[in-house]
Amino acid sequence: MKKDLLSIADLTSEEIYLVLDTAEAMREIGQRPIKKVPTLRGKTVVNLFYEPSTRTRTSFEIAEKRLSADTLNIAVATSSVLKGETLVDTAMNIEAMAPDMIVVRHASSGACHLLAEICKSRIINAGDGMHEHPTQALLDAFTIREHKKRIDGLKVTIVGDLLHSRVLRSNVLLLTKLGADVWLSGPPTMIPAGIERLGVRVTTSVDEAIAGADVIMMLRIQQERMQGAFFPSAREYFHVFGMTADRVARAKDDVIIMHPGPMNRGVEIASDVADGPYSVILEQVANGVAVRMAVLYLLAGGQEGD
């Protein structure tokens, strides 16, 4: 593994499988009476979150604690960032207290790369702007592999806000690297130009994208990143692109439905699908802890060229 986990693009397929296999072992720890191993004793991990997060921050924190790391959370709402401190200054000050790893979420794409260049601590990207969210893609792959026993050759359809989604980018990089047949669908206003160059099929017809799919991954409509009107109304969006039971019926009989959360029920996904028999949405959350434990463990070791 490299020093930092910034992008799925930095990982080889062997490294991706190493993370997934390690996560298999880590998951068992969460089922023990004492859910803790001494592995990262004496290591300090800072969770630096510039954007709101429930799942990812909690998941990282549980993962860190299960590995016995000392963790601390810096939520921007209670930090000196409000007094005008820059990202780099904040990072340099945290770095001066010698943590071993910093988990970063930031609204700007590339914020983690910037920190990785100036920090000796290992940086883990927990979502940077519209760029990437690598641990989400890893836990999605873990969940897919658990159900389908493989990733290679599966038809994976990703539907929704393709433009603003860092989850999409990380998933496309990972799934194509492991040989999945990836289809994307969403409103034309939300399809980034040139996305097909990543080796995916793109269509505005959800029904075409879903036909025969092994996996359907829904993306959240990200109102907070939208500048301008991308579609007429949430109701119309649901009508054309929302995942309903009727649409799910076009996929394979054993399809699984995924969503990285938080869900907008009745916008990108119908409630009966989100809570229905094909949904693995809460499994994704559970698997997130094991996958993040694997990432923390693997990054805590030596790095290339040490």
């Binding site: 298999e24 803790k36 191993v37 592995t39 290591k43 590995l67 463990y297 030596g302 040490d306």
Partner: protein
Amino acid sequence: MSVVMDADRMSRSLARIAHEIVERNRGIEELGFVGIRTRGVPIARRIAQAIRAINDHEIPTGSLDITLYRDDLMRHAVGPQPVVRRTEIPFSIDDKRILLVDDVLYTGRTIRAALDALIDFGRPRSIQLVVLVDRGHRELPIKADYVGKNLPTSLSQSVQVQLTEIDGRDQVEIQDA
């Protein structure tokens, strides 16, 4: 390189250990095997099988990966992390007499890690240590309860246990560095 234990000798050693375990543990229903990955696991299964042949009693068997408990894990952070494999102990170890099984007993550090790991799963009544080979050179106050073969070695030598389940054949050999 010299072979110090062949397949026949190995199977007789394991059969003897099975008899010793039955002899020393009255109330065999309280026993549970935990093999240390990798080669402790098939050895544990074989001894469990030998005990079943003696008294028709099935002793539950689990496998333990001690990687996350190693005392040298983060000391010299060079090179990639050791691979972590799954721990599967499909029974409660509470109040059980646990037979911890490994292939080679050397410094004792693996056993120290395994004891720490086991305690995280519950509170066994006792833990006994079973090893196929004891090669000496202990660095911790640890001693085996059942030993297949005591093998005097020098620090420069290495002891390789090969098992059919993993390596395609049963034998123990000593290699000089």
